[in-house]
């Protein structure tokens, strides 16, 4: 595959661009103090209710009954509003996408591939890039201090490679390990292009990715385009559930946000950026564990629009075991919370770029903090009620209602994305099993984040030779 070419080896000095804004010191003490204060206030409130209740016409059992009813109704109402608003907005976006066809452009693009211990999948990933329907791009791989055979594999790929429409220059940067954010910044620094595509080294891009994504940069206000992430390693129970989650849970929300041009997370496996937007946002930061969410918020805060392109597809490997899945979601949750914390000052500030930006951060807070707690509390209530008051048929009707809602949403999303119809049946257990596991993991991660417990970047095991 590699053609004969002479290597130029150059020593460069890479500066970790942005300095971290997070104040790690004393944060755990601060949040512990907050938890103690809020806990004490809650106990005082419970005691006040307990002692003043006999003075009213309510009994304790009727109070619990009424409060639970109100809580369940609120849960259902919020759930329905969330679902239908996302469905309607994503429908409007798909409608607009179908009828508005911006002209194609082909400026020079640098594809940045950060690598850390990916010797099994790197070659396949680069081959998918050489198969792109685009004739004006280069590939820059950044080996972030891999400890396995990655360096040898990457060096064998360096050269002028035969692309689908043109020759493609493949460059490698070997550097000591410093994290994904700095690896990406290094690649962006070396790139001479006005547009960069950042991806993961375990992902494969669909051939028309660049062609369809670049069209949106006709609008000079568009700073970035988020791609569509799909699960590559399917045909397993857990990975099929994630495939459905990516289609129904993530892509539907992204399509809905795209209608207002404010996609809140440009996914790590595929994001195309205007270099100017990256510069105005201050590039990737390494002070959160979700550098993609952080960068997206910074780009939006700088006033750029962010679009979602459903045909720019990146096939990525999803965790195939429950342990790996929890590890991944733990990192995502804490990373998103760290990003929200960094940008919370802009929510109700006059410096906020738009009402849409404020709405998007509030939506992120709801998704990361409020929704998981509501879901867990509802499920716990049903367990409690079933054990203490006997199994009620209400349990079945509740589950059936949610399952029908998920089936409808899954049917719509799968039809829109022309996905596998067999995934629809996973919607039956999607909310009761899969989302509950994810939400418990999110809740635990949230507690740890507020307590300031140290965390490490999890590395997932990869499988070789997977085809999209």
């Amino acid at each position: 595959m590699a053609e004969e070419s002479k290597d130029l080896r150059k020593e460069i000095r890479v500066f970790p661009f942005p300095k971290g804004e997070g104040k790690e010191n004393n944060s755990s003490e601060k949040y512990l103090r907050r938890i103690i204060i809020s806990g004490t206030l809650s106990i005082i409130l419970i005691l006040v209710i307990y002692f003043t209740l006999p003075l009213t016409i309510l009994s304790i059992s009727s109070l619990i009954e009424y409060s639970v009813m109100v809580a369940l109704l609120m849960f259902m109402l919020v759930l329905l509003i969330r679902y239908f608003s996302l469905l309607i907005l994503s429908y409007l976006n798909n409608n607009e996408y179908t009828f508005i066809n911006p002209p194609e452009i082909n400026p020079f693009v640098s594809i940045i591939v950060p690598i850390y211990n990916e010797d099994k999948v790197l070659k396949d990933s680069v081959e998918s890039l050489l198969n792109l329907d685009y004739d004006n791009f280069e590939i820059i791989m950044i080996n972030d201090g891999s400890t396995d055979n990655t360096r040898e594999v990457a060096e064998s790929l360096v050269g002028i490679q035969r692309g689908k429409y043109s020759d493609v220059k493949v460059t490698l940067i070997n550097k000591q390990n410093a994290g994904k954010a700095i690896a990406l910044n290094t690649g962006i620094a070396v790139s001479q292009a006005d547009f960069v595509l950042c991806m993961d080294s375990d992902s494969k891009l669909s051939p028309n990715t660049l062609k369809v994504a670049m069209r949106h940069f006709n609008d000079p206000k568009v700073g970035a385009v988020a791609g569509n992430v799909k699960v590559l390693n399917r045909k397993k129970f857990l990975t099929d559930l994630q495939a459905l989650e990516y289609i129904e849970g993530l892509n539907m929300a992204r399509a809905a946000q795209s209608y207002i041009r404010l996609v809140n997370i440009i996914p790590g496996p595929i994001g195309v950026f205007r270099k100017k937007a990256l510069q105005s946002a201050g590039f990737y930061s390494d002070d959160t564990f979700a550098e993609d969410a952080d960068l997206t918020l910074k780009i939006m805060a700088a006033g750029w629009k962010v679009y979602y392109e459903p045909l720019a597809i990146s096939y990525t490997q999803a965790p195939s075991t429950l342990q790996q899945l929890i590890k991944q979601r733990y990192r995502w949750t804490r990373g998103i919370l760290q990003s929200i914390r960094k940008h919370k000052k802009l929510i109700f500030s006059s410096k906020s770029p738009s009402i849409g930006y404020t709405f998007i951060i509030l939506f992120m807070i709801y998704e990361a903090l409020i929704w998981p707690v509501m879901n867990i509390a509802t499920n716990m209530f049903f367990i409690f009620a079933a054990i203490y008051f006997g199994i009620s048929s209400l349990l079945f009707y509740w589950w059936a209602g949610l399952a029908i809602l998920d089936l409808v949403a899954a049917l719509y999303c799968i039809a829109v994305e022309k996905e596998e119809f067999r995934l629809i049946w996973y919607a039956i257990i999607y909310r009761m099993v899969f989302i509950l596991i994810i939400d418990i993991s999110k809740a635990m991660s949230t507690i740890e984040e507020f307590l300031g417990i140290k965390m490490t970047w999890g590395k997932l095991e990869r499988q070789a030779n997977l085809t999209a």
Binding site: S5, L8, V158, K175, T186, L322, F382
Partner: protein, 146 residues
């Protein structure tokens, strides 16, 4: 027994199992994480990196102007290579059975005596009298069909 209470029971068991599974997996993850945790090395202010890049492309991709390598030490190049006499002799092998002396080449002036290369009977023609050489076929060229 009715169907709905049975289904409700299944849902209840599934929900409780999911809770146990999720919390168990989380605890297990934390235990493993703690075991695998190593003390992080202090992060340097500047990272060293090495760029390995092919030479500039010829023709098609020139949009990105790749900066040529500037840190390469210049190599002194001679226009023609002339090895020293000592080196020259050392490189020539001694004549032996396996390495005979080259014989003088004598030119034949480009004239080669060519033998008969084609057999007359190579291309035969099939007639009503059987296979005959094309020269002996008297009816050659006359109309076969009337």
């Amino acid at each position: 027994m009715e169907l709905i209470p049975i289904l409700s029971m299944i849902i209840l068991v599934a929900t409780i199992s999911t809770f146990i599974l999720a919390i168990g997996s989380y605890v297990l993850y934390k235990v493993r994480e703690r075991k695998a945790q190593v003390s992080a090395a202090p992060r340097p202010a500047v990272y060293q990196a090495e760029v390995i890049s092919p030479v500039a492309l010829s023709g098609e991709i020139q949009t990105a102007q790749f900066q040529p390598y500037t840190d390469v030490r210049p190599v002194q190049m001679q226009e023609t290579y002339s090895p020293s006499a000592e080196h020259q002799f050392a490189q020539e092998p001694a004549p032996s059975v396996y390495n005979p002396q080259p014989r003088q080449f004598t030119s034949t002036g480009g004239q080669r005596q060519r033998g008969k290369t084609t057999d007359e009977n190579k291309y035969l023609k099939y007639t009503s009298e059987g296979y005959v050489p094309p020269s002996s076929d008297k009816k050659s060229g006359t109309a076969k069909w009337k």
